[in-house]
């Protein structure tokens, strides 16, 4: 488990990184929590690794016009412990606690998790639930991609060759939040929910399920079935019944179990959020 030989560039600026990424077979090294194992297992064999860890201007958390914008190089742990994230993006704060463990989160970056596009990872699922906007920079300049369009398939994104993910903008949404996973790693699902309730009536809902398909799934039908209705157990159950997914078998759990658990966890996420 040693990486195949590759060239290495420590980028001194975003422009330098983007220019280098325009070549063939490149990979971005940020926190290294996904790339380094892939390199070591020789599942990734880039010609050139572009290290962006010195790009301090990609590490920030700021409010911007009703959004929270997070620089790509911001470490998970910085976002998780940020007062701003706790206040404005409680769903992200809650989800980050499920990412690896503290030492993973000290290295892992927000941009790295999004670009890695693991369909069952917490950050992409939160991005899809909140309809985050992902900013990428290329030789053409910058463009913004809506999260649902950014995630194309398992470990596949809309990033074009030569583009670098530079930030993500999460809209601030009201409501209490819940993140649900089974304490059984073989299930490999995550459900995130932010539900706003006013006078017993669901005013807003953002729900997404990770791991149940090639990309995280926004549970739009469930949200629609909740909004405007009283959040009783019966309404929640009926709303969850609207959710469909077609997850693959995992090594330790058949598709049928994972499909059923996606619904159970979705119901629990909504229930936990509305009872918070």
């Amino acid at each position: 488990m040693k990486a195949a030989a590759f060239e290495y560039l420590r980028a001194a600026s975003c422009d330098e990184a983007v220019a280098a990424l325009a070549g063939e077979d490149t990979a971005v090294l940020a926190g290294g929590q996904s790339l380094v194992p892939l390199l070591n297992m020789r599942l990734a064999r880039p010609r050139l690794v572009v290290d962006i860890n010195r790009l301090a201007d990609l590490s920030y958390l700021r409010r911007d016009n009703g959004n929270v914008v997070i620089g790509a190089l911001t470490r998970h742990r910085a976002a998780e412990t940020s007062a701003m994230v706790a206040t404005d993006l409680p769903l992200l704060a809650a989800a980050l606690r499920y990412v690896g463990h503290v030492s993973t989160r000290n290295r892992g970056t927000v941009g790295g998790s999004l670009a890695h596009a693991d369909p069952s990872a917490e950050l992409p699922t939160v991005a899809v639930a909140l309809d985050a906007s992902i900013r990428v920079q290329g030789s053409h300049g910058v463009r913004d991609i809506a999260a649902p369009d950014f995630f194309v398939g398992p470990h596949e994104t809309a990033l074009a060759p030569g583009e670098l993910l530079v930030s993500v903008s999460f809209p601030v949404v009201p409501g209490a939040v819940s993140v649900q996973e089974l304490p059984f790693r073989g299930c490999d699902l995550v459900v995130v929910a932010a539900v706003a309730v006013e006078d017993g009536i669901c005013a807003q809902a953002r729900i997404a399920v990770g791991g149940a398909g090639p990309t995280p799934i926004r549970a739009s039908a469930v949200e629609e079935a909740l909004i405007g209705r009283p959040v009783t157990d019966a309404v929640i159950a009926a709303a969850v019944a609207e959710f469909t997914c077609d997850p693959p078998d995992s090594l330790h759990a058949p598709a049928s179990y994972r499909r059923e658990m996606a619904s159970v966890l979705t119901r629990r996420a909504i229930g936990t959020a509305v009872h918070t």
């Binding site: 488990m1 195949a4 030989a5 304490p183 059984f184 073989g186 090594l251 330790h252």
Partner: protein
């Protein structure tokens, strides 16, 4: 039994400062001058003929020093890989070499190896080796192996059944004919393995001019490894040095001897340079021995009053595509121990060893016992249910009560099983579990309490009996205790320090026996050039009972010599002297003392007028301890578990073990061993499984796939100790390194069953993962 002093003291481990501050030295830390690094090309396919292996491109890669194929390794060695345990004399033991020669019999089997300037280049070279396989149908499961038209793994043997035997005692046929009740069940135990944090590794230096072999090796049994090198490589033992630095865990699979270490030696000889070969995590899942996998069919005969009168059935050991050093012996232990702590007059257990295209079977903490325990504790619960009796009444009725007891194979030296069960029940009562269960049920939650009772043969073992039982290695242990010229003590042992605290334990025994402070004792291990000979190494729960007994006896003799010298200096009779904290005093005469340092000086440096004329200089005693019997530990495990009826997730809320390992040397170490074993029992019961796909290829290659329990899944484990000393072992010590893992599976499953009374579950296959439990619950209710 509290004997006072350092034996029985809960002292901090002497190893820990070094281990916790990063000052330990592991094999991968070894860097010899000019050292090369090696890597092994492993077969991706389960079963194939090797048509050709072209290494020319790999050999031409800059930085590569040598490439060897299986055929070349075979030509360079004297013999095949040894099978240490041959429990069935007429079993077919396929001759296999360090690398596959012309046929692949399991995925992960080594095909060729490279030595290069570093591991990365070695792995580059592996990619340039062109192997052409003629794939054969995979024989991946027991059923496939036993099928009438099954492809055969070995051309020279007519069946995939490599051997059969039986363990018999009493008249089983009569017991079943006369039984009031006959119960049966079929059990499936999955492939699992020990996963030490440190994978296996070797640094071999084979000097081509002197023919001396110097090996750093992750081994629990340096003397067995030394003998195996001698046998395979055709060298005299005296020219082979095996050094074992700190081990990052062992769990049994570092007991076994692997082809990889032979490959490193051959590469070293070929290149004339030291060669390091470190197994990486991904390859560890195919290249380190697997364990546990068995099918067990069992029948139990009982009387209406709950007396179990007979057991019979078959253990199928699902072996791999080659035999590891343990051979079939873990499965034999299952068959031999299936009556557990119960006095059952008749046993008729068949044992069948079946080869499959899987990784070789080998040692893992608990050996055959976790399966045997799961079987007898399941059958006890089943019988209780059938007869409408409490399961503990069945246990009590059938417990062995008279000791020594001749079990179907072993002689159990001592035990107080009912008291141990009572101790466990008292702990459950004190923890308020009944109330917790009652409250949980009142709010609709599924909470249950499960039990298992275990006994365990430890302290292997009587050497001559081991020979007759098919072991090519003995069971004695030799330790040396030396007092130096400053009065400090050094204990030399052939046992390996693998994180279990053996240095602390032996230091406590020496300090206690000699009457010196603990920090005046240093324990040295891990070098066959200077360590004493351990017949069986650090396995079979033998470190404390054998090492402890030998140190105690040697230290006792050494103390007598110290007292003779002190008596000479103090002009007092040795029997009037006492040693406390390294000071020798005349009883009742305050101030008339000499120190251990004075005695050391008198024995090594300034002898005149102080060392008696009839004493030889130096202070050293050597003890070879060959036990007359094994020592039987025992314990009772109780588990409080909650089942999520919607998801099948099992959460362990409480874990209690009442345990007896004779005289305890250090209760903190014993607790830690039991905790660690419990964690492995939890993984084994609930999540761990090595998975092969339908094509016989290995799917479990990372810890994302092999589901070890994490800290979140392991509840606090509380231990209640009792002590029934082994009278035949000096010091009364029994082993306990494997105890924690043995009874856990049955207790966890019994708790799950108890939590879900409405389903009438019968769980006979592990691991019981959430999807499997949910499926079983639905089958039970016809949902």
């Amino acid at each position: 039994m509290d004997v006072g002093g350092l034996i029985g003291a809960r002292v901090s481990r002497v190893e820990d400062v070094r281990l916790l501050t990063g000052r330990a030295r592991f094999v991968d830390d070894v860097r010899e001058p000019g050292m090369l690094e090696a890597a092994i090309l492993r077969s991706p396919v389960p079963h194939a003929r090797i048509v050709s292996v072209d290494v020319s491109k790999a050999a031409a890669l800059p930085g590569v020093s040598a490439v060897v194929t299986g055929a070349e390794v075979k030509a360079a060695v004297r013999g095949p890989q040894p099978v240490t345990w041959q429990v069935i004399p007429d079993m077919f033991h396929p001759r296999t070499y360090a690398l596959a020669v012309d046929k692949v019999t399991y995925p992960g089997q080594g095909i060729a190896a490279v030595a290069a300037k570093n591991r990365a280049v070695a792995e580059d070279a592996l990619e340039l080796i062109d192997v052409r396989y003629e794939e054969l149908p995979a024989v991946s499961t027991l059923e496939q192996a036993l099928a009438e038209d099954a492809p055969r793994l070995f051309d020279e043997w007519p069946s995939n059944v490599l051997g059969r035997t039986a363990v018999r005692t009493g008249d089983a046929a009569a017991a079943f004919a006369e039984a009031d009740v006959v119960l049966s069940a079929e059990f499936r135990f999955p492939r699992q393995m020990g996963t030490p944090l440190e994978t296996r590794g070797v640094v071999a230096t084979w000097d081509p001019f002197t023919d001396r072999l110097d090996v750093w090796l992750t081994t629990q049994a340096p003397n067995i490894a030394q003998a195996a090198f001698a046998e395979v490589l055709g060298l005299p033992v005296g020219r082979i040095r095996v050094r074992t630095p700190d081990l990052g865990g062992g769990f049994g699979n570092k007991f076994d001897f692997y082809g990889d270490e032979v490959v490193a030696c051959v590469l070293s000889r070929r290149t004339g340079k030291p060669v390091k070969l470190i197994e990486d995590r991904a390859e560890s899942f195919v290249a380190t021995v697997h364990s546990r996998e068995q099918k067990v069919d069992i029948e139990v005969a009982a009387r209406a009053d709950g007396t179990i009168t007979g057991m019979r059935g078959t253990v199928y050991g699902v072996l791999g595509g080659a035999l590891g050093t343990a051979g079939l012996s873990p499965c034999w232990v299952t068959a031999a121990s299936v009556t557990g702590p119960y006095d059952i007059a008749a046993l008729d257990m068949n044992l069948v060893g079946v080869a499959t295209n899987r990784t070789p079977y080998g040692s893992f903490r608990g050996y055959g016992l976790p399966k045997a325990n799961f079987v007898h504790e399941h059958m006890v619960e089943l019988l209780a249910k059938r007869l409408g009796m409490p399961a503990h009444d069945i246990r009590r009725r059938n417990f062995i009560k008279q000791f020594p007891h001749q079990s179907p194979v072993f002689v159990f030296d001592s035990g107080r099983y009912e008291e141990c069960l009572d101790l466990c029940l008292a702990a459950v009562r004190d923890a308020g579990w009944e109330r917790i269960r009652q409250d949980a049920r009142a709010r609709g939650a599924a909470v249950g309490i499960g039990y298992s009772f275990q006994n365990e043969v430890t302290g292997l073992g009587p050497s001559r009996i081991q020979t007759f039982a098919g072991s090519s290695h003995s069971g004695f242990d030799e330790e040396v205790v030396r007092i130096d010229s400053t009065g400090h003590v050094t204990v030399y042992t052939g046992l390996s320090a693998m994180g279990q605290g053996i240095h602390t334990a032996l230091a406590q025994v020496a300090a206690h026996t000699l009457g010196v402070p603990l920090d005046h004792v240093t324990v040295l291990s891990g070098d066959t050039d200077s360590s004493p000979y351990s017949g069986y190494g650090t396995g079979a729960s033998r470190g404390a009972p054998l090492g402890g007994a030998a140190v105690r006896t040697a230290a006792t003799r050494l103390k007598a010599k110290v007292l003779r010298i002190a008596g000479h200096i103090l002009e007092a009779a040795p029997e009037d002297l006492v040693i406390t904290d390294g000071v020798i005093a005349v009883r009742g005469v305050p101030g008339r003392t000499v120190t251990m340092a004075d005695i050391g000086d008198a024995a090594y440096r300034r002898l005149g007028g102080r060392l008696p004329e009839d004493e030889t200089p130096t202070l050293e005693e050597r003890e070879v301890y060959d036990p007359v019997n094994v020592a039987t530990a025992f314990g009772c495990t109780a588990v409080l578990a909650e089942v999520d009826r919607e998801t099948g997730v099992v959460t362990l809320l409480g874990y209690l073990i009442a345990h007896d390992c004779g005289t305890v040397i250090n209760p903190m170490i014993v607790d830690g061993q039991l905790h660690g074993g419990a964690a492995q029992a939890i993984g084994g019961a609930l999540s761990e499984e090595l998975v092969y796909d339908a094509d016989g290829r290995m799917r479990t290659r990372t810890f994302a796939d092999y589901l070890l329990p994490s800290a979140a899944e392991v509840p606090p484990v509380a231990i209640s100790h009792m002590a029934t000393p082994a009278d035949h072992v000096p010091g009364g010590f029994k082993g306990m390194g494997e105890s924690g893992v043995i009874g856990g599976g049955a207790a966890i499953v019994n708790a799950i069953v108890d939590a879900l009374p409405e389903y009438d579950l019968e769980i006979t296959a592990l691991p019981i993962t959430p999807p499997r439990l949910l499926a079983l619950m639905r089958k039970g209710t016809g949902r």
